[in-house]
Symmetry: D2
Subunit: 303 residues, 4 copies
């Protein structure tokens, strides 16, 4: 259920709606929009009766929400979410460029790559300090030392930092250094991590799981939003199929469908989808062609 307020509804009227919802044993989350505020009702098992709210002062209408996700839905918020970073933004029209190495290896490596990607127009720098690795014997990242290097990249070059958190404890440490906290594909349904991401106070980049449906992906975003964090950026990175000519099959229709269903920005990571250097640039162009809000690409200084 979504209680849509009049354009000129007062703060007191909104408060009364919130109290009414809470008096029913449910949760109320006011979501201010460009035109009006809507109050999202969470926690109801079955459908609610709109007449509970339709007569209240300041209420335009109470509308049932038909999707299993609520806060991420376009039904709840018709205008697109724009996540702002100083003068930069993800969502709302432009194509944000996030670039950098797979893993943070050294300060020298990061500074060289960061200088290059800034020159190429990127405003966001990516690099992993904590790396989720298939093998326990592979390099697992520099950890906090890596985060400190990323912090110095931001200070020196003015780039916004995107870096991954791999569990809910590490997430809060990551959030101290990052401008955007990344939740990786393997953790898309790690709900403890998603809940922490919802309470970390930083924008979250949520990658699509390797074989996640659109609904599962949006439900993962709902976990983050339902903990109070409205700043979620979705990232398509290819899905696992029978096809063996690229690492994953980039699913650009997902960008289009997500945009219809949700107000959240969607970016595309062609590097992980392709797993082959020669495919990255044309797939990035294709992502722009479907109006992705940004690109996330891997850059090596000694590829």
């Amino acid at each position: 259920m979504l209680v849509v307020m009049n354009k000129d509804a007062t703060a007191a009227e909104i408060r009364r709606v919130v109290k009414k919802i809470e008096s029913l044993g449910l949760r109320a989350v006011p979501m201010p929009g460009a035109q009006r505020t809507a109050v999202c009702v969470l926690g109801n098992k079955g459908p609610l009766d709109p007449s509970f709210f339709n007569q209240m002062r300041g209420v335009k209408e109470a509308i049932p929400v038909s999707r299993p996700y609520k806060m991420v839905s376009r039904e709840t918020r018709p205008e697109p979410t724009v996540v702002r970073f100083g003068k930069e933004a993800i969502g709302g029209g432009g194509v944000a460029l996030i670039a950098g190495p797979c893993a943070v290896e050294s300060e020298d490596q990061c500074m060289r790559i960061a200088a290059a990607v800034r020159k190429a127009g990127a405003k966001f720098f990516r690099g992993g300090a904590y790396k989720p690795r298939t093998s326990p014997y592979a390099f697992q990242g520099l950890g906090e030392a890596g985060l400190k290097i990323l912090g110095r990249v931001r200070d020196r070059l003015g780039l916004y930092i995107v870096t991954e958190a791999i569990d809910h404890e590490i997430l809060f440490r990551v959030a101290d250094y990052a401008d955007i906290v990344q939740v990786g594909a393997r953790n898309m349904q790690n709900y403890s991590l998603l809940k922490a991401a919802g309470r970390c106070g930083k924008p979250v980049l949520l990658k699509r799981g390797m074989s996640a449906t659109i609904e599962e992906w949006l439900m993962a975003a709902e976990y983050i939003m339902s903990e109070g964090n409205p700043q979620v950026i979705l990232c398509e990175r290819g899905v696992r199929t029978f096809a063996d000519h690229s690492r994953n099959t980039l699913d650009l229709s997902a960008v289009l469908v997500v945009r219809q269903l949700s107000h959240l920005p969607v970016i595309v990571d062609p590097s992980h989808a392709a797993g082959r250097r020669d495919l990255v640039i044309p797939l990035a162009r294709a992502a722009v062609a479907v109006n992705a809000d940004g690109l996330m690409v891997e850059v090596h200084h000694q590829p």
Copy 2:
């Protein structure tokens, strides 16, 4: 094995290479290129000794072919194949537009749609006279009456006709009317059909099978080429995956990988991939962004 001739090799020198190959119990197919002719050796079970050919007059070099397909391979022919239709072409740079209804229903329907798509810039008209249907109880197409309608569309509007053949007998009838004979996704490994397509004297549009690998798709094209028809156009139309938000998952990386492996032109059918009208135009833009040689789209006059 590919026997590459010198630029100035004479017809007699080429003939001698062909005879030499045939004397080994193998098949020889000369493939004239922009710069030089190469003679493709078919039918050998294991690797051949290049010294059989390297000493012959007019031979530049004999090179082993490492892929299971030969005639479709870029190793055999580095320059792109361009299929020409009067002043129009598929391959070699532009974006050919093929548009029309799913099925030919009546002359009136076809003429209306054909006039509209011609106005929109299409030079090719598609429409099914023989329809492969999941259900035996569904409309199976107008058959030869449909082919005749398509012939009148060509005569009256000057559009080139693309239409599907669903078995090897029907294929020769279709080739009498069509400018391009289509082999559909369900028939991509119908080898009797592919062999007939190789002997029909018309360019062939070969759709990728629903779960075909790139190699299987190129091998299907090899069937057509090995019967003597060099004019094959490949068409990516989405593959079957777990994803349920679109009918198929459009695999644009396939366009890129095919172009590296083969000299054949590749077009994209976003309508069948999406199965939803709202996704067709952005996916078509994405196809152009990966340098597809053309687009094939379904158009209804009363959608």
Copy 3:
């Protein structure tokens, strides 16, 4: 629509129902069952009014059929179809064993393998005279000479012959020699082949396509049955997935679901699913555990 007749309905009463159906411009196919006859109505676009038939003499009831397939459906025929071969049968309880080489290579090879599989309890001999091959340069089978060898295997050893037809012309030649005509996975939606199979007068073994849904598979069987051939045997042989440890992923739940939806017998081919010799026997045991009506296995005399 299915018009179910009374147990004691007369032939004249059935004929009148058929005529009534035909007078509506539709097709009628009487399907005699163990208890009673049902008349299947084909060709209607929308739902029919049961009252057309409910008042007719000999009619028990007219029931709408909710599935897109009709003749293959358990709604149409509750008792299982049993396909009989002399004293042998496929369906109805036992586990039929079909064994033999991938391709017919020589009479000597076939006789040796046939003798061995007969000793091991097989009553059915398989072997390909026409082979659908990914590569045009691979051995395509002995053709009619292979069929003749198979005929001699039957004559000498008393095994029933299962062999594949790869197009609708070849199918009638195959039907002259085979006891069961096989339609392979790549041809599951080759509708010209399916229609020919429906008119060939021999039982048909229909393999599931590489990425066919249950509904598509049953619709392919419906094509065969709707041409007048009630003797269809379904064969699960694994589907294409991301998994790379076996050639295909054997889908045993398909056997169970098909048995619920259809009266047709279902067998399992573990050899093609696994693509690895060591998996064949345990997967065959698993197929028996889900009550498959038979097994189809590849046997080499010099593996």
Copy 4:
């Protein structure tokens, strides 16, 4: 690298091998087997020279390990791992039965179901106290209160308890109550959770991820073993494919392939694979037919 000791190697000889390995800056994990001890070398980037160890006293041979996983590999330990619980065991021949409800709802519910499954022969009781849910608004489990109920089931009925941990903090709390700690499919690549599972001192049931390859699954088990926990039980529960007639496609060939590659026991969960009650029993029979070491089934008292 695996340093295999002689049958009669002394503890001192083993210690010297461990020290030698550590002196190279690598990790050594002695793995006692039925016949002999092998010392697993972890942490080397490239291949090691066997001559480092071949001359040492008590060493039979030093053999390179060819797979990316080491401790889970049959190369490292040819005999099967048997996980023992009093007189019960998982692995080594029998079919262990793990049964119980999806979620712990109340003590009454658990006691009723537990009594029933014990009567049916189960020695292990499953039930979720922490539930990973697609929706943040769904019941997330009773948490620690649920664990206490499970503890009382064990005390009163003598069943061993299997229950899931959903993050690395909760895991240690779960391990206080559980006899087997479950890591669910969505968390198969949650490496913080896997590492905690490796240090929890209880056997771990590791479900296969929804689209995990065999190698990724075994690498996840390697994470647990490399932290010092040799008691890992693998659980196949179906993979995500295009097929829509069952929730997941049960991949029984995975049981067979895992058994070849690894010494760890493998069980099967037909309930989650099928997602339909009517398929569970036949799929369980099929799992036994491929020699699964156990079954895990969902049981409702009011289904």
